[in-house]
Each structure stands twice: as C-alpha cells, then as structure tokens.
Amino acid sequence: MFSNWASSMLFAQSEGGSLFLSPPSSTVAPMVDSLFSLIFWISAFFFALIVGLMVLFVVKYRRRNGVEAQKTAHHNLLLEAAWSIIPIILVVVIFVEGVLGYLDLRNPPDDAYEIRVTGRKWNWAFQYPNGHVENNLHVPMGVPVRLVMTSEDVIHSLYIPAFRVKMDLVPERYTKAWFEATRPGTYRLYCAEYCGTEHSNMTANVVVHEPGEFEAWLEDASNFLDKMPPAEAGKLLYERRGCIQCHTIDGTSKTGPSFRGIFGTQQPLADGSTVTVDENYIRESILEPLTKVRAGYRPVMPTYRGQLKDAEISAIIEFIKSLK
C-alpha cells in the first residue's frame, strides 16, 4: 500500500503536483494552486517566526534562580501598529487573488459545451446534448464544459479535485459549474455535501478524451441498446444508472435487496403481504419504488420515471432475469 502510494506521489510530482495538491488538470487549477502556494509560504513564514521567537524566548528567558524578569514597556504603539498593518496588507493581497480566481471559476466562456447533471441519492446522472445519460462524466480535452446541475432530493455537491471545481446541487433550482480539462486521463469525482447512507459511495469518474475522440465515444455510447443483447445492455444500465449503488448482483444486501436469483421468486413486503418478482413488479419498482417495498429495507429509492426509456427498463429486466 505504502509503495503504491509513494510511486503515485512521485508520479504526481513529475506532472506538476505537490505533497498538498494533485496535478492540476484544468485551466483554472494552476491559478488556484499558485494562490495556494502563496498563502502556504506566507503562513509558513509567520508560523516559523512565531514558533521561532517562542522557542528562543523560552530558552533565553527561562526562569533561573536570582534572575528577575526585566521591566519592558507595557505597550508600544509603533510595534503594535506594525504587526496590525503588515498582516492587513498581506490579507488584502490574498483576498484580491482569491476573488480574481473565484470569478474565473464561476463564470464560464460563452461557447461552453453543456452537460446536464442530476444528483440523487446516491448516484450521478450526466446527460449529454443528444439525450444520452451516463453515470460517469466524459468530457473532451481543451473544450470548456459547462455543467447545469440540480438535485432530485437533498443537497449534493459536485467535486472534482483534479480540476479544483466544486459546486452544490440544490433541489428545485439550477446551479452551474464549468471547467476546461487540460490533460487526458481518468479523474475522481466526489459528492462533497453529506447526503446520507451512501454519501461516501456517491462517486464517479471523469474521463477526459483526447481531442477529437469525444464525439466518437458519444456516438458509440449512445447506441449501446441497439448493438448489444438486452441482458448485456441491462448490465451496462445497471452499472451506469445507479442501480449498482444499492443493489448487488452477488446475493448480499446493501441499501436495497440483491438482484441475484430473485426473478420469479416470492418475496415478503414491508406491509406483510408477498409479491412475485416478475416483469411487472420490477417495472413498477423502477417507476414507483415506494409502493411495494421489500420487507427489511427502508423506503428510500428515488423514482426513475421519465429517466429510463421503456427499452431500457426492458433491458434491465432481462439483465435481472439472467442473474440465476
């Protein structure tokens, strides 16, 4: 584990990162990092000054027999003014730098590529202009991307550390964020606002495509329903559209019941009755998840009405059928 980490650190170093910061991978990141370094060195200087003086005084003026404390002035206006005004100047510099960076972070260029983001407990949905939805964020390199975001339930927050971007998703309103990726690769995306049980699993990957490859990927990805057998397409949907956050396919329970081997079985419900897990029950559970909740599980699943097409629901049903 440690060697793994050490090598990744070295790797990071070689690409412009540091102990404190991962390699900057968006256009705004270097600017945020330079402000971070500025504050870091100012802080380091003052910290060294304070602790240095403290240690010096403790050593030099420690109590000895027969040595009295010396009388010094009880205040000194010049000194006090100096250590008030110098920090004021420094924080004004930091403040202004912070504001300038912030304005860049918040105001996207006009020609940005727009992706709609929906956060819900506990997964992400990124919708591209052609209507295709993914649970990972794919973006082209070197193109400003604007995220128009909302939440379906509670407040979430989209956070991509490598891009130094973070913005809350608030229900019933739209918030915006933007970035322009500068290096191809895969980065982590987190939910940064606490949102309940699976908050720490509400993560995704950001895949930055080389220039020109993004369109091809989107074209390919959008047509998966036509090109694959339904069960395989269902597996893809299961992974991409958030089912996987709460439902396993290995028989263990998470927030929701496992999909393994349930098709065709009788299952008890929370209200005491039983239900046969068939096509209709699965379809109903996707569209109206709170009507028939399995016994032993909390009624927390959000509805997917309007988010999954009929063909997609059928594919998911085929996938669940295939899990013997």
Partner: protein, 569 residues
C-alpha cells in the same frame, strides 16, 4: 461597601479553619440545590468532562473505522450516526460550555471580587438546562439516532427518518442554557464590580468572557428560532426550508451559520483569555498591550457576526455576497494575529517558568498558529472552493477547537486546579501528558490537511485507497492523543486523593482569585480584596514554608487607590 483595608494575610486564618466552599455543607442536596457559583462551576466541570469523554470515545471509534478504505466494523449508517453525534456532543455539550460555564462560572465572581454571579438561581437553572439538553441528546441516540451531521442541513434533516426533533429540542434547550450563562456574566461584570475594579483593571480572562457573553446573548436566539422552524418543518411541514413546498433550503444554512459562526468565537475567545492570564503569570511579566487584547476580543466578537456566509461559498449564493463575506472574513484574522504577537512580546525578557499550564499555553500558540493560518486558505475564495467540505476543513477546525480551545481549557484547568480543589498535581506526569497530547494532536490532524487538499471529502465512511496512509497516520495520532488525555485525567484524579495541599497562590498570580484561600471560602473573600493592576507581580514573593507566593507590599503601605491607573506606561 466600606473602605477596604488591605490586610493580605487572607490565607493564614483560613488555613486553620478549613471551611471552604467544598466542606461548608454536606450531602447531595447541598450540591444539587446549591446557588454557589463555585459548586455550579464544579458540577459543570464534571458534566462537560463526561460529555468530552463520550465525544472522544466516538472520535476514536470513527478513527478506527477509517484505518481501512473499506468496511472494518461500522456500516455506513452507523458511521454517519457516529460522526453526527461526535460533532453534536463535542460542540453543544463540551466546547461551547467548557471554558465559560465550567471555569468561567467558578472564576468570574472571584476574579471580579464579587460574592457570586448576579443571578445565582438563573445560574443553577442554566446548569439544569444543560443537563436537560444532554438528556435529550441521549434520548435521540436511543430513539433512532441522528444522522444529519451536527449542522442539520435541510432538506436532508427534514427527510431522514432519524430522531431529528429530539436532538433539535436538545440543542434548543442547550442554547438557552448558554444564553442565560452569557446574560448572567454580562450583568455581573456590569453591575457587581467592587470599588476600584474599573473596566481596565479587569483581568483579560474576564474581558474574553464578556465578549463571549455578548455573542451568546446575541447569536444563540437565532439558532433557537432556526431550530424551532426546523422542528416545525419536520412535525408539521411548514415548508419554509422545504424546496418541494416552495421553501428555500439554503435559507436554513444562512440561519444556521448566523449562529454557528459566532459560536466559533464563543469557543475560542475564552481560550484566548486563559492564555493571556497564563502567559503573563508564568513569564512574570506585565501583559503586553492590555488594551489591544481587550479591544480585540470585542472586535472579534462583533466582526464574527458578519462572516457567516463564508461557510457557503459553494452553495450557490451570489458572487457579490461571496466576495463580501470573504473580505469580512479576513478582517477577523487581524485581531487574532494581534493577540499572538502580544503574547510573544509578553514573554520577551520575562522569567519563564515551564510549569504545566505554561506548557499548555505554548502548545496553544503553536497549534492555534497552524489553525489560524490555515484559515487563510479557507477565507480566500478560489482556494476555498477547492478545499470546502474536505478534510482540510476538518483539520483546520480541529486545530482551532482541539489545539486551541481544548488545550487552553487544559491550561486553565491545570492553572486553576489548585485553587478549585486545594491540591497540587504531579508536575512531571502532567507535563508528560501535555507533551503526548501535543504530539498526538499534530499527528492526528496534520495529515488531514494533506489528504484534504488532495481531495479527500469529509464525512466519508469509505474512501479511495490513495488516502489510506494519511488515515493510518491520523488514527495513530488519535490513539496517542487518547493516551495523553488518559494520563492527564489520571494525574488530576490522583492529585485529589494524594496531592499535597495547595497554597493560596502557587504560581504567583496577581489576579484576585489568588488573594483568597485554596479552595475559596463560601463567599470567596474573608476580607474585601484590594483591587490593583492584575498583571503587576512586584509585591509577590515566594515563601518556602508556604510553597507558594505571598503578597508583600514593599513599596507602599496599604492604601486604597482612589483613582485607578490601568498600567504603568
């Protein structure tokens, strides 16, 4: 009040007649219904330390779970409950009342030269409100737990199926406990100062408590109404914070932080007050820049009301609001910086005695230095967007709350322990505990800065493997910190049983509490004390047979100074 005659031999008669506040009456009723501020202070001390123990155990459980990126022994839900209660217990039950309610209650009237607080019955009521609030918190744990985070953000808190209302009632009741304590302190300082105790002869600890009390009275009611609205939202569905009914969840954040940011200063200002006392006494130097420190307490208290929006830079508030809040936030950093420089200058050319309280004070300057300076990263807008809600923030406020408030609380506890209980503790062991706590704190929280700025979000039960080394370091530090605190507790406990009797003035302090016996008699002063400069150590002479300091007026015979002079400039 009749003219005071300075016969500063108070300790002697009391040494023979041991009726102090601890022994004057007996039986549990004499404690449960006491109106004596000292006994109430001691009850608070026991209460907040129990809360600290509870919160600390939860912290250790959390840290153990975080040793591995995947599940070790806590489910996600249990982890969420645990960090919520850790935060709520530590904030509402421990840190906010720690220094003001426990140490402040005990010391404020004595340091002022008064017999008691202005409203003794209200003071007892405050304590029982604390107890009631604590009971509600415990009830919340039993009745379904609490998984909202201590911040109760809507709409999560209005939709989760845990016992939010019970916890809300608890926090509401605790709020009133805090308000009444603040009200009592302000009234006491304003109207009960004896002749000669002018504003600028008050010890800086009292200035700090005064500033704290202002915040408690002005900010806490806003938390109260916020919690009422939150409870009404959950019980009735009034929709004010519920976006589904047309409400605004971000308004809740504004309301919450309007209290909770000033609350940060409720936590840190008294700590700064303690440090001002300790640094001066153990350097045997007049505090440097008395008025600057006093005014900066008030300045921090007032400016603290204007900066709540810096908790919400990523919430979608307008860019103009964010810029204004960022600017105001930096304005608070200046008075804090001034205090640190003042303490350093106080040590300059002093006679520094590295007794346990001073060790804690030095640790405070180190740790608060880091906590304060890392605040700059979070006040600056561009960096805050990146660091908000990551472990960087967690590390920052733990450096301020633990490295600042807890360490100052321990400094104050060790400083006033002989006064409170009349016993001396073992110096060597106490210093060892201080050292282990100091190392443990740094080892726990410094790695969190690194993983935070590398992108580790807070409140995560599971995490990416790349962060594991930092988490392992942090957990190791937490265990070390735990060991240090246990040693500290054992040392103090041992002193109660076996410690040698404390003299009236073991450290050579010049404030009024050192003029009365250890422990103090029921009404504090056998003879009304002379009020002088609280930081003038000239007349204090060490007496071997007393094992402490005795006031020997050598320059001038006893006289009551009619016109006070704040400082010999």
């Amino acid at each position: 009040m009749s003219a005071t005659v300075a016969t500063q031999s108070a300790p002697h008669p009391q040494a023979d007649a041991p009726t102090n506040y601890l022994t004057v009456t007996r039986g549990w009723r004499s404690w449960a219904f006491t109106l004596d501020h000292k006994r109430i202070g001691v009850m608070y001390l026991v209460a907040v330390l129990s809360a600290f123990l509870l919160g600390g155990i939860m912290a250790l459980i959390l840290r153990m779970e975080l040793v591995t990126p995947t599940r070790l022994f806590l489910s996600e839900d249990l982890y969420n409950h645990m960090f919520t209660l850790h935060g709520a217990v530590m904030t509402f039950l421990f840190i906010i009342p720690s220094i003001p309610a426990a140490l402040g209650n005990f010391l404020l009237p004595i340091m002022l030269g008064a017999k008691d607080l202005a409203f003794p019955r209200l003071n007892l009521a405050s304590f029982y409100l604390w107890v009631a609030g604590a009971i509600f918190f415990l009830l919340a744990i039993v009745l379904g737990g609490l998984d909202t985070g201590w911040t109760f953000y809507t709409p999560y808190s209005t939709t989760t199926n845990t016992s939010v209302v019970t916890a809300t009632i608890g926090a509401f009741v605790l709020g009133f406990s805090s308000i009444f304590t603040g009200l009592n302190f302000i009234a006491t300082i304003n109207t009960m100062r004896p002749p000669g105790m002018t504003w600028f002869r008050m010890p800086l600890f009292l200035w700090a408590l005064y500033a704290t009390s202002i915040i408690q009275v002005l900010a806490t009611p806003v938390l109260g109404i916020t919690l009422v609205l939150l409870a009404a939202e959950r019980v009735l569905g009034i929709g004010v914070f519920d976006p589904k009914l047309g409400g605004d969840p971000v308004l809740f954040q504004h309301f919450f932080w309007f209290y909770s940011h000033p609350a940060v200063y409720i936590m840190i200002l008294p700590a700064m007050g303690v440090i001002s006392e300790v640094v001066s006494v153990f350097s045997r130097k007049h505090i440097f820049g008395y008025r600057f420190i006093a005014y900066s307490s008030i300045a921090i208290a007032l400016l603290g009301f204007l900066v709540w929006g810096h908790h919400m830079f990523t919430s979608g508030q307008s860019q103009r609001a964010a810029i204004i809040f960022s600017g105001l936030t930096f304005s608070v950093s200046i008075p804090s910086a001034i205090k640190v420089f003042n303490w350093l200058t106080t040590m300059y050319k002093g006679s520094i005695w590295l007794a346990t309280p001073m060790c804690y004070a030095l640790a405070f300057i180190f740790l608060f230095g880091i906590g304060g300076l890392t605040g700059l990263f979070l006040g600056a807008l561009a960096t805050d967007v990146h660091l908000h809600d990551t472990y960087f923030v967690v590390a920052h406020f733990h450096y301020v709350m633990m490295g600042g408030t807890l360490i100052a609380f321990l400094a104050g506890l060790h400083y006033w322990w002989p006064k409170m209980f009349g016993r001396m503790y073992h110096e060597g062991w106490a210093q060892l505990a201080c050292f282990i706590v100091f190392v443990g704190l740094n080892l726990t929280f410094f790695p969190q800065f690194i993983m935070g700025s590398r992108g580790m979000p807070r409140r995560y039960a599971r995490y990416d493997a790349e962060f594991q080394p930092f988490h392992v370091m942090s957990t190791t530090g937490a265990l070390l910190l735990g060991v240090g605190l246990v040693i500290c507790a054992l040392v103090l406990w041992q002193s109660l049983r076996r410690g040698r009797k404390a003299p009236a003035n073991p450290w050579g302090g010049a404030t009024l509490e050192w003029h009365c016996a250890s422990p103090p008699p029921l009404e504090n002063f056998a003879v009304a004390p002379t009020v002088g400069d609280p930081y003038d150590f000239d007349g204090l002479v060490y007496k071997g047979e007393e094992e402490g300091y005795v006031f020997e007026p050598k320059k001038q015979p006893a006289k009551r100074e009619a016109e006070p002079e704040p400082a010999t400039v």
